[in-house]
Symmetry: none
């Protein structure tokens, strides 16, 4: 089972490596990426409208003008940020689960952990926060996100649940279609805790991701595997 490279991660921040000689020496090809990184951070942190273009440029270590050299407008920058961080990784992931050998419960646990490792814990999780916040202002992007992320993700999880029901591991009366949300909701919640309210009130709301995922996975597996009549 190959662990594919997490998406949304870029190795180093610009300016961190004061290694090579003259100042301001930078590989051109890296510029757009650095801008996208900076933009992702700021859009997630402050929202699209409240993020100033100049700030993005500054964080990427370039001038205001340079930003518009690579992206014709702030809106296009936003779209690029979203697109850049939604690489269609689902084919690969589908295959991973196709070949998976364990039980369906293990598969659910694995799914959650893999999501955390590759998405939740990475910069890519910001995209989800971003879409949640800005969807209404970018319906076109929302549709794109729906198409590229929501639908395949939902389908992937749905197949896992279906497999569990068919194998007799999970409750036979499971509402497979809507139980998918029982897997997704905890993910969304964790992202929001990380990027939204949780980023503001550290002490009281601080969620320990691993313990959180453990509790959610336990609850989920217990709920899926409970064959007795529900009270």
């Amino acid at each position: 089972m190959s662990l594919s490279k997490p998406i949304g991660e870029r190795s180093e921040r610009p300016g961190d490596d004061a290694g090579s000689a003259g100042k301001r020496e930078r590989r051109k090809e890296a510029r757009p990426g650095e801008l996208l990184d900076a933009a992702l951070d700021l859009f997630v942190e402050k929202g699209f409208a409240a993020t100033r273009s100049e700030e993005v440029a500054a964080r990427a270590g370039v001038s205001k003008g340079t930003l518009f050299l690579y992206f014709p407008s702030k809106e296009e920058l936003f779209k690029a940020v979203v697109r850049e961080n939604i690489s269609g990784r689902f084919d690969e992931w589908n295959q991973e689960f196709e070949e998976y050998q364990g039980t369906s419960a293990e598969m659910v646990r694995y799914c959650i952990q893999v999501w955390w490792d590759r998405i939740g814990a990475t910069r890519a999780s910001g995209i989800t926060k971003l879409m949640m916040s800005e969807a209404r202002n970018f319906p076109e992007l929302a549709a794109f996100y729906q198409q590229e992320v929501i639908r395949p993700g939902t389908q992937l999880i749905r197949r896992i649940l279906q497999r569990g029901v068919e194998s007799g591991e999970f409750r036979p009366n499971l509402d497979v279609d809507y139980s998918v949300y029982s897997v997704i909701a905890p993910m969304i919640f964790l992202i929001m805790a990380k990027h939204s309210l949780g980023a503001c009130v550290p002490e009281d709301f601080a969620v320990d991701p691993q313990r959180y995922l453990q509790a959610q996975a336990d609850m989920l597996v217990a709920g899926l595997c409970n064959r007795e009549p529900l009270p």
Copy 2:
């Protein structure tokens, strides 16, 4: 057990009745509420920064100047919107659950349904979306929300879970503190489905609230009551 009136609902929108009409109507009492309603809608829909003051005024059926007659700035308007919709309802709810006679499983189901009736299905749900999107820009309000909503809500749910564990209904190995999120996460998710992505892509993502809540409550209760060792 009295079903208290849902919060965040205002009976009629101004300007809907083209009856009496005539401009320069004097409604000092009604104005603030109408403005807050309009602002809530727009802030939820477009975000704080992307909402123009004049738009809020227009939706409330008044002129730009009138808005500033009641709220000294756009930011104060935002704060008022949040505060207005976070009336400490928790004392009442705590008492309700204190006096509740059914099983803990029933209590969990009731909790979810009551949340939906009084918050999720009402305009008040917009506040949650708002806080999720704008928390980073309004740390002061985020703290306020944490204090007034998150903390009491968490405590209320925690007590319910604790009760179930102590009565032997729920799994004894339940991580009570973090299982609270298993109740909250589906609520947050439903609100986001209603106000964010779900508001953009009706067909594919359309969630039927009742069926959704049914599935989530089932999963939750099944997970809570499953006494067998978890796979």
Copy 3:
């Protein structure tokens, strides 16, 4: 020699007398005057543009609307303030000096003292400050002020100086026309000290009017009466 009533003085401020019965009882006829008083104070203090109409109304103890009941616009209010406080008192004063019996030097001293008693020390002095500050924005008023105040005042002083030269009291080589300014300039300066910079830095710039007028009158008389060749 009659001491005519100082101009620009109104006996009592509205609201100071809580004497008569019910509140808000006020003689209608007094309203415009109270508004003019309040306006004069504020225009002098902050200038025309920086004075808000509502503030004028509030200081006069009436509502915003009432102000516009008596004066069709802020600009008209300003004009009324200026006109109200420039009553053509010069005929009377001319006669006073026509009948004056003392020396010309005494006349000059008397002139200065009378100006202080009737203008400089009174609210009317604010008008001068006002014209200095706002003349460029109200050329029409400036012309009016020139006509009603500057010209007659200048002429009055000129006649006094002329009388002194003709009687042999004053230097024969006196530039009568321009020496008039030697009388006026100290007056203007004192008004500015009172209403402008002097009102800001109490300690350092505080000018004792009587000592100031004494010194200026001395210098003036000494300069007028010095018959020796000028060094």
Copy 4:
């Protein structure tokens, strides 16, 4: 004795030469000065509140936004205008008078003429008008002006008068402290004639500066040197 360059004068106005023209000229060095010049003119002409930011920018030949590129607010612009034109010139002047060889009467005449050449006749005179008009709205600046201009100027003149009294040239009974105003008042008056009322009613009030200064200097010297008992 060197005649230092008059302050407050800038050689050419931008946009006067339609030669090179072309918009979007980059003149980072020159901009602030041009804006300060334009602002000084307009503030003197119309007052702070009545001057629109865009007007200042337009007169400086730039767009609205450029103004705020150099000055963060209209108020800061005002402060900069005042500060820019109050360069501590007094050290130089003090030394000049320290080394002066003529009589005290000549010194007084020289003082007046030098003031006119370096201040009165230049754009710097507008600052005085400005402070007179706006002191109450900018108490902080008024204090600054008091500190940087009023106090040193007063001291300089006071020393000259003191010198004359001690040398026996001037009246021994001179109220030195308050006679200083006999020198200052004519200056203030001339500035007001130039920038205020005098700028409105050219014909009647037009003051010929040189003749005016001659008359005032004559009167002053005559008053200072008159050793006879005052009538």
